[in-house]
Symmetry: C2
Subunit: 333 residues, 2 copies
């Protein structure tokens, strides 16, 4: 069943059928109705490849995550992918997925089949790396955890800024009477949270000492080790903020080992709100990134551009604090 047969069936031309099917103007309401009805009756659906061939539009976007494979990237990926797919579907686009870790460039053929790209990249990605993915041939939206790009670009950006929510977490803790708040975090060079932490602490009216920061790796054991060091300090912190929920999980273990109850003797705040955070015992208070929003905003930016928006946009998504059971009033003198 193709458009020719359908037209024959209706005794009208294929041109008119096509116009009716595509909601083009200048089709009589009656004709349109008849066409739609018949199409449904005969189970006709336009051949997407023929349509693509003639229009040059694929109604297809690709989600790429060249850094996929790292623990953190994966937790993000799946949730973001879900909302990107959803947002795309709502506007008639399907989603191609490319996860191959480390694959850092696209061929012309790769780009010919899609109308645009959503790129999830590490905060350290350079303009060149991004360009080698888009080939400067298709619209793209870049999702990254860094600040807005230091360069003008042909691509849209959605950046995640968790600092306001980290401040909120600190304020929560201060409000609960905590005066010494420690930081457990990966020593990654690009960590904005780590860099801003001392300032945020001071802005909250507390004093900051460098000994309150434990720079660690990314595993649970690292969080355990980092937290233990802080908790063994002469004047130990009564609250800990960890750079990731995984590290916070380790901090929870450390507290347990030292016989400290959470949140009774120690409050712990995580970061990211991975699924495990809600499942932990006690459930983690954490700086949550709204990945659903992230995906839909990124996708909207991309599709707008595909469908005519003239210039790329740069947007920022803010995180929010999710308060669960791992934080509470400071009970230490």
């Amino acid at each position: 069943m193709n458009i020719v047969e359908l037209a024959k069936e209706l005794n009208i031309s294929t041109g008119t059928v096509s116009r009716a099917l595509n909601d083009r103007a200048e089709v009589s309401p009656d004709t349109r109705r008849r066409v739609l009805e018949k199409a449904r009756e005969l189970g006709f659906t336009p051949n997407p490849n023929a349509r693509r061939l003639v229009t040059g539009r694929n109604h297809l976007i690709r989600l790429e995550c060249p850094d996929s494979g790292s623990l953190l990237a994966d937790y993000f990926l799946i949730q973001t992918a879900r909302s990107v797919e959803e947002a795309a579907a709502n506007r008639g686009y399907e989603l191609l997925l490319r996860l191959r870790a480390g694959r850092r460039n696209s061929t012309k053929a790769d780009l010919d089949v899609v109308d645009g790209l959503v790129l999830i990249v590490s905060p350290t990605a350079t303009a060149q790396e991004i360009e080698s993915l888009t080939g400067n041939r298709v619209p793209a939206t870049v999702i990254c955890g860094a600040e807005p790009p230091p360069y003008e670009g042909a691509v849209s950006y959605v950046c995640v800024d968790t600092l306001p929510a980290v401040r909120e977490a600190i304020e929560l803790l201060v409000g609960q009477g905590h005066r010494r708040i420690g930081y457990v975090g990966s020593g990654l060079p690009d960590c904005r949270v780590r860099g801003a932490f001392p300032r945020l602490i001071r802005e909250a009216g507390l004093e900051w000492e460098e000994e309150l920061a434990a720079d660690t790796g990314v595993a649970i054991a690292d969080g355990h080790r980092g937290a233990r060091r802080l908790l063994n300090l002469p004047d130990r912190p009564t609250a800990l903020l960890a750079r990731t929920d995984v590290l916070a999980l380790g901090a929870l273990q450390a507290a347990r080992d030292l016989g400290l109850s959470v949140p009774g003797d120690l409050s712990v705040v995580g970061h990211d709100d991975i699924e495990m955070a809600a499942l932990a015992a006690p459930a983690l208070t954490t700086v949550a990134i709204d990945m659903e929003r992230l995906g839909s905003v990124a996708t909207a930016a991309l599709l707008d551009r595909i469908e005519g928006a003239d210039s790329p946009v740069v947007q920022t998504i803010h995180a929010h604090l999710v308060v669960r059971q791992s934080t509470g009033p400071c009970r230490v003198a």
Copy 2:
């Protein structure tokens, strides 16, 4: 740049160019070489949509996970998706992703754009549910954690059977001197491991008592609770096997709380080998599902069928035991 221009450039016909590009027989080696060279030189790549239109082949498969959104499904999904994508790419196919939870049927148009489907479904999925996804129109491979399907089907299956590896885990523990091994697991109706556990224990030469099983939920706290109950038994188990790594994490916490060292006083075995398992402290010994293999086997089955294999196949993937630091010799009298 299209095939006509390319042909003109070479002073040969488009037919010959097409044949050369598609590695068809009956093209002189010299011509082929010239064509390929010129194509590269001019940056020519065949228009995939024109090709699809005329051949009716899309070189596109779709990965669907209608149950996506549940914790467990997601941990699997991302790793499996990675290997499906890789396997598909190696054979010239791209991967469409559809995660929309609960979306349990495909339209004709959905199926027109793909050559086949990889379906990740829950063990309780019925033949009808699967059929409503494939529409009986395209080849499909179903990945599920259940036993091979109880019905003859038009689709291929890749089933995961972890029982042999669970047996292996039990044998490891027995070899280490453990005589009482507890089970911490979700009370899901479809849990094969739970059902087979008593038999496996007996086959290992131990005695089984129903009090050694704690049927719980799926969160860390459930694992904690379940393990605590077992460890408070008069004649407590010296080893615990948990149905999921998440539950095992909870068991680890419970041991800590009770002052039991792992693996000194208690051995703990997880199940699934999620990333977190390796990060736990101590790192979890666990029944690992090789999701990479799962994805590639499933994809191979699908592509074979797309490319001509006459009948669907049913395969089983076995898990394997990964021994880490959470298991050790039994030190209890």
